[in-house]
């Protein structure tokens, strides 16, 4: 398992960078220069890199925790939106970051539960209901920000998070570390513990591998699906919450800082092999791509959507573990 992963992860990254190379070349850009910007552009400011990785750790978990029970949480996007909006509201009214985090996390969890209940009791594929919820929330949040929550001084963004509720950096061994990243890492470790060392996690994993065995063993696979979606949704909500109180402090009226985070989380989760610890590393890699993509837009004029295309190719390349297993067996037999 681990060995095929070692083959799979670099291969998918290489395939995506190679295809991206061809794409850039055909559009008339200098791929070597752009890749240089993408790879080295983001390393200059480690604080910023970790801040940008934080939401991705959580949307990655939002995808991967339900994935263990065989559920596809494509709704990370919507859970992220609602977490961001409600945390902003909570922070604005209570001036407490703790309150903001709690509200955002709970909202995401409720949304996850809704998707799971529609799946379990109505037999509707979670992908369809997730995407509908994503769009409903996208437009509702645009509406609430432009109608009620806009900042009278800066009309293109929402009211800001009050200073008391913002989370900054703390000093650890002389290094500045963003508090929100620390929270994300702690949550990832807690998730790892829950998934692999607790009864809930055990039930979830058995239900994912074999719903029948779960039923014979006396626990309900449906309940596991719902639990995993509540946990996953809560992660998505927490991601939105941390983004607002620890990085942007406001939501702009085009939602540009929010859009796409949930979808990127799918790539983060898959590249991290759905392992919470792996997700921490893959989210740092993804935020390198995203920051690098933004730098490349500034310096070379290539649209930031390059990062989307590269991530998409990576996800496609990660969808066929069978190939890697064949190749791996072939390499083994040759030795």
């Amino acid at each position: 398992m681990l060995r095929t992963s070692l083959l799979e992860i670099p291969t998918s990254i290489i395939i995506s960078f190679l295809l991206g190379f061809v794409l850039l070349l055909s559009l008339g850009y200098d791929p070597v220069n752009i890749y240089k910007i993408i790879i080295f552009g983001s390393i200059g400011d480690p604080d910023y890199l970790l801040i940008r990785s934080t939401p991705l750790v959580l949307t990655g978990l939002a995808f991967s925790i339900p994935f263990l029970t065989g559920t596809f949480n494509i709704g990370g996007e919507g859970q992220f939106y609602i977490g961001a909006l409600l945390s902003l509201l909570a922070a604005y009214t209570t001036k407490s970051s703790l309150m903001a985090i709690a509200v955002g996390t709970m909202a995401g969890g409720v949304l996850g539960a809704l998707i799971a209940i529609i799946k379990v009791y109505r037999g509707i594929n979670e992908v369809v209901s997730s995407i509908m919820l994503n769009w409903i929330l996208y437009f509702s949040i645009l509406f609430s920000i432009t109608t009620f929550l806009y900042d009278p001084l800066i009309p293109y963004q929402s009211v800001p998070v009050p200073l008391d509720a913002r989370l900054g950096c703390i000093q650890i061994l002389g290094e500045r570390v963003p508090l929100i990243f620390l929270i994300a890492v702690c949550v990832a470790f807690i998730s790892y513990y829950i998934l692999y060392y607790s009864r809930i996690g055990y039930c979830m994993r058995v239900s994912g591998l074999s719903p029948k065995s779960a039923r014979y063993a006396g626990f309900s696979p449906e309940l596991s699906v719902i639990t995993s979606m509540v946990l996953g949704g809560a992660m998505g909500g927490l991601g939105g919450s941390l983004l607002v109180i620890g990085h942007t402090y406001t939501i702009d009226t085009t939602m540009s800082a929010l859009y796409g985070m949930g979808f990127a989380g799918i790539g983060v989760g898959l590249l991290g092999r759905n392992n919470p610890i792996g997700i921490i590393f893959s989210s740092i890699f993804f935020s390198m791509l995203v920051i690098g993509g933004e730098m490349a837009e500034l310096r070379a004029g290539i649209p930031t959507e390059l990062a989307d295309a590269l991530i998409g190719i990576m996800v496609i390349a990660l969808s066929m573990p069978y190939i890697y297993r064949i190749v791996y067996t072939y390499i083994r037999s040759r030795k």
């Binding site: 509908m132 998409g312 996800v315 990660l318 573990p321």
Partner: protein, 303 residues
């Protein structure tokens, strides 16, 4: 009043075409056992490339052909991955959606230097006039739906295709080449979706925009489940969701006409949620649980 009804009816007939094409295509693919979540991506990519074609050739019909071709190539990709390489169909589709969105927006920005929308391109004419009009592709798509229904449920090759989705092992024993059937079904499904994507540009909106598809690929997937994998019911399903789609664009315009002093730019966001809420409520509350093809989404492993 009468022109409102006719206007809404026409908008419904215009909006239902891509939904119908994609959902009928997806019914073929899912009946054979392959689920393609990448409908949204095919819509976006085919819309972009057909806008590009229509922009340079000024011929909407060439653009439709390009849409079919984009669908074909996406179908080859998804078919190879999910049928022959035994990949995870959902992950492959999700990845394709991201890739197609990314590459179409890069194309939009690199070709026209615009971040939101392409220039207006040549469009196909509508049939009819005044308040009642529809696209020739509407008739084509309804004919396709009926023919596909006949094929799936009244011919022996349709029966074999359904067997691949229900019980591939028995189908194989019957002498059906399961892998090839599934591959072709995926191809046909993706091509119909590609046609729908091209229609959004040259048959309907007249330009490519960043959020041109806005989840319609997923609405088509909802219609597939709603129809119980039956193309005839998918016509009704597409009409219902096409109506909500039309309503969401029609209401703000109408309200603005009645109350000219009201500022509707932000309120129109509320109306944009209508089709998605309608889909969510229909599938989660008002609809009987359908029976999906038994082997849907599982790779077939030949012994």
């Amino acid at each position: 009043m009468i022109e409102d009804v006719l206007g809404l009816l026409s908008s419904t007939l215009v909006a239902m075409v891509p939904l119908l094409l994609a959902s009928v295509g997806e019914i073929i693919a899912e009946r054979s056992g392959v689920v393609n979540i990448g409908l949204e991506g095919i819509f976006v990519l085919s819309a972009f490339l057909s806008a590009l074609t229509a922009f340079y050739t000024r011929d909407p019909y060439v653009a439709l052909a390009v849409g079919l071709l984009v669908g074909f190539l996406s179908g080859v990709l998804h078919g190879v991955i999910s049928v022959y390489l035994r990949g995870d169909q959902i992950i492959s589709g999700v990845g394709f959606n991201m890739f197609a969105y990314g590459i179409s927006i890069i194309g939009l920005i690199c070709t026209w230097g615009q971040h939101g929308a392409s220039p207006i391109v040549a469009k196909m004419p509508f049939i009819g006039g005044g308040f009642l009009f529809f696209s020739p592709l509407l008739i084509l798509s309804i004919i396709i739906a009926i023919v596909v229904w006949y094929w799936l449920f009244r011919t022996s090759s349709g029966l074999k295709l359904r067997a691949c989705g229900e019980d591939p092992r028995s189908a194989e024993a019957m002498g059906v080449n399961v892998l090839r059937t599934r591959f072709y079904a995926t191809l046909i499904g993706a091509m119909l979706t590609g046609l729908g994507g091209a229609y959004m540009v040259v048959g309907w909106i007249g330009q490519f925009t960043r959020y041109i598809s806005a989840g319609r690929g997923f609405i088509a997937l909802a219609i597939v489940a709603f129809s119980g994998w039956n193309p005839i019911i998918a016509i009704a399903g597409s009409m219902i969701f096409g109506f909500f789609d039309a309503l969401s664009l029609y209401l703000p315009v109408k309200i603005q006409l009645i109350y000219p002093r009201m500022n509707l730019t932000s309120t129109s966001y509320v109306f944009r949620t209508v089709p998605y809420i309608a889909v969510l409520i229909t599938v989660s509350v008002a609809f009987r649980k359908g029976r999906m093809p038994r082997d849907l989404g599982r790779p077939y492993i030949k012994e």
